[in-house]
Every structure is written in structure tokens, then in C-alpha cells.
């Protein structure tokens, strides 16, 4: 399958991964080879086949509506890059 460099850049932006102009050609070549492999399944006739989304035919279980979690807020935030007053800091998004 042929992918254009513009398509590679579009996918990379959707995935929020910066790709430098120097990397783009190699990324494109490798993605094309992967899509060539993946393409082998596209010719199979799957008319009427129910998609298998999961390894077990499970009905999602319901649990009792009660508090099960303890407050581990502070603990979880220990690994965050930037925190203040219990909030995660990010660059300004509203001027």
C-alpha cells in the first residue's frame, strides 16, 4: 500500500507523535511494509461473520454500587511531571 508523506504526517499528528522531516521517509517505508503484510487479510470473504471483539464471550459483570476505592490521589500524583495544590499543571490553553 502506498502512503504519502502527507498521510504519514496526518496520522502522526492524530497520534500526537512528532515526526521530524528527516525521519518521515523511513517511517513511511516501514509503515508501507506493515500495511502490505496487513493487507493479506483484506481479500478474505467475511460476509456475515460476526466480529470477534474478545477472547471470551463475556457479559460485562455489574458490581454493587458502593464505594470501593480509597483516596490515593496524593500517592498517584507523586509520579506526575508538574503538580500544584493537587492539580496537574499543563501549559496555558486559554488566553
Amino acid at each position: 500500500m502506498a502512503l504519502s508523506l502527507d498521510e504519514v504526517r496526518r496520522i502522526a499528528h492524530l497520534a500526537r507523535i512528532e515526526i521530524t522531516p528527516a525521519e518521515a521517509a523511513d517511517v513511511r517505508a516501514k509503515l508501507e511494509s506493515i500495511f502490505e503484510l496487513v493487507g493479506r487479510m483484506r481479500a478474505v470473504d467475511t460476509t456475515g461473520i460476526v466480529p470477534m471483539s474478545h477472547a471470551q464471550d463475556l457479559v460485562l459483570p455489574l458490581r454493587e454500587d458502593r464505594v470501593a476505592e480509597t483516596d490515593r490521589h496524593a500517592r498517584y500524583q507523586q509520579g506526575a511531571p508538574a503538580v500544584e495544590d493537587g492539580l496537574y499543571l499543563v501549559p496555558k490553553v486559554i488566553e
Binding site: H13, L31, P61
Partner: protein, 495 residues
Amino acid sequence: MSPPMITAPLTELSQALAAKRLSSVELVEGLLARIDRGNGRLNAFLTIDRERALDAARSADVQRSRGTAGPLTGIPIAHKDVLMTEGLKTTCGSRMLEKFIAPYSAFVVEQLASGGMVLMGKTNMDEFAMGSSNENSFFGPVTNPWNADYVAGGSSGGSAAAVAARLVPAATGTDTGGSIRQPAALSGVCGIKPTYGVCSRYGLVAFASSLDTPGVFGQTAADCAMLLTAMAGHDARDSTSLDRPGEDYARDIDAAVTSKPLAGLRIGLPREYAGEGTDAAVARAIETALAEFRRLGAVTVDISLPNVHLSVPVYYVIASAEASSNLSRFDGVRYGHRAASYSDLDDMYCKTRAEGFGAEVKRRILVGTYVLSHGYYDAYYLKAQQVRRLIADDFRRAYDDCDLIVGPTSPTAAFRLGEKSDDPVKMYLNDIFTIAGNLTGAPAMSIPCGFDERGLPIGLQIQGDHFAEARILNAAHRFQQVTDWHRRVPPEFAA
């Protein structure tokens, strides 16, 4: 006890501890010394938890003296670095989580700890479990215990190599497309992936949620059975964890030995596994092993899995799609790496993820993003799920005619470091025999069954239908009672 005792299989260590011929402290100290000597060569461990391991060993010995010890009390284990271990670094082999300390433990980690096992450290792996050679680790590849120029397999390469080199008697792994079985084969140990849902995924950093399965490595099938019995169980925190009665996976192994212990067992040989890409030495080793199974009473029957050749393409759609969704959480906000400089929020995401992820992880996220993007969903993700059903149906039909399916775990023994690292598709095809087990969710294991002409181990894969773990383990155990491949130790680590 003389020093070699500490490298014995887990079941023997368990007996030695129970008989007080060995203390847990002696065992842990001895193995920490082996890790110190061996890890420079292997790069199998990313973190060694020395002090806490010794503390746990001391408590285990106290429990032993009070008569409250269980069969696994005081026995060391290592966990793959994708399983959360409270208070201990959990990197997933990624720069993204290079300094991440887990705030809680995975269910399987808790289960083994409550069984009394001593956590020795965390093992190296392909980044976020994506890879078949361990070369995708940010912390460098694991080298094969049998030859330093070769890969140990992946993604659970560190766990496989650590058990093969007898640095620990047991290690956990996770298997999404073969990540326990393939490194077990390439490093020369046993590894089992149980039925999907038997071991909770709680605290397993997600790669492809419909395929990810925790499992174990050990020297023998009996060791794996004992470990799996302790790890399994229902856990409400994973909505796909199965609520079914607990099983003793060693129940058949413990049955009395007869001359034909596998009488009546039908082993299916898929026509489609023959030939194509399988190395001659691997094919010969499998033939020899099958002759052994027949001597043990099993019969072999030809079966057909007409869609199994589509496993690899289907897998790279489903696994990549799920990965692109799961790994979106790594955005530089809540945990892990954040880029040092950026212009705005969007740029922070893009730079953080460009810096934090390695090339293979990025490729899979890109493939997954593409197949889930507007206008492509039906042609890729939905199509892959339909073909997944066809593959699962093939196996269902096959199990009408056989009880287990046997063949090679991997088409070749270990390959050289760097040999396939620049060709993702060539690397992906390495998992041709293991991936179907993840798509169907059925259990499978790899056991050592010989060596190639370079002296590298060869793995035999035994697959079974859902919940056939005990049958698989028993067949493997009976094979191991009459062969000694699993007892071979890499020469560099024999002393």
C-alpha cells in the same frame, strides 16, 4: 546444603525448604550473588530489590519455623517490568516510564506475594511488550544465555533469560502475541500463557487489552503448574477476569506414573505448520519429540487450520489498534516523561511522545491510529475481528478431532542481535506460531525440546482448548520425565 542446590527447579526448592535443608535467606543470598555475577552479561534485570528481598526471606524463614509456611513461601521470583510492583520502579522498558515508581501492585504480583514468594527484582523487556527480540528495550537488549551474540527473544526476554541462567527459579511474563512462549523457546526454558481471563490483568500496563495475558516461566512444567495455581483467580478489578472455581493445575502431574501416561491423548498436527519457513533443525527436534509423545501413549492426528496463516496480519491490526488507544494515556501530564521544551499543550504532547517512545512503539501507535481513523475502521479493525472469528472457528473444529496441538514455538532458534531489528515485518513473522493462541484466548506453553547446530535451544509449543492448562502441563511434564532438555544449563551459567 552445597551451592548448586539453589539452582534447582522450584518444586525441589520447595521440598528442600520444607525439609529445612535450605533456608530462604541462604537461597536469596545465593541467588542475589548469581544475579550480581550474571546480569552484566545478560542485562536481564532492570531493578534488583536486594534489601526487601532479604527482609522477605527472613520473614519466610520465621514463618517456616512457626509452621505457617506454604509451598511457595521463601522462594524467589522476578517480575516482568510491565507488572506494577508497589514502591518499586516499573519502567515497561521505556524511557517514558524510566523513573516511574508503581503506586500499587498488579493482581498477579499480590497473589504470588501472598503465597509467600520473595520478589527479587524486575526484568528487562521490549518497550511496552512490543517486540520479539528484547532489542526494543530503552535499557538495551537482553543477550541469549546460550550465546551472547544472539537475542533472548521477546518481549519477556529478561524473565526468560533469568530463569534459563538460573538466576531465579521463576519469573512472570506477559503474552500478547507470544511474548512468554517465544523467549521461553529461544532461551531454553518453560513458559505458559494460560487462558485469557484466568489471570487478572489488573496492574499489567496495557498494550492490547483483548490479547494481553499474564503467565509464568519456570525450569519445568511442574514448576509452571505450581506457579499458575498460585497466580490465577478471580479479580473484580479486571472486568474480563473470569469468575470460576480455582483449579490445581498440577493435579494430573501428581497422578501416579505409568508406562503409558499419555494413553488416549490425541495430538493434532496442523498441516499448515509444516514446511514454510521452519528451520530444518527445528523440524527434526519436533519430529523427535513427537516420537517421544507416541512412546508415552499419545496418538497423532492430522488436522487443518485453514485460516491460521492470517494470524499475523490480523494481529497487527488488532494489537496496534488497541495499543494506539491504550498508550494515549502517556501524554506527559499524569505520569512519566515530559519534554523539556515545547510551545503549547499540543506541542508538549507531540514532543513528549516523540521523546518518550522508541521507534517500534511509535510505529505500532501509528498503524493503530490509521486503522481506527475515520473511513478505515470497517476495512481494517472490523475486518480483522471477523477474520479473528474465522481463526477461532478453525481451532474449535480442530479440537473435535484432537486434545492438544503440537508444533514448533518459533520457526527458528534464536537469531543474531541486529539481524532483524531494521525489518519490522521480518520480526513480526517470527511469531507466526504463537499469535493464534492470543487471538483465540486459549492456553499454550513452550518447553525445551532440543538444540540446533549452533547449540541454541529449540522450543516445542503445546496448545490446548480454553481451560486445558492442566492437560497441557501434564503432557509437558510426562515428556520431561523421559527427556532432559529442560535440565540443560547454559555452560556459562553452569557453575
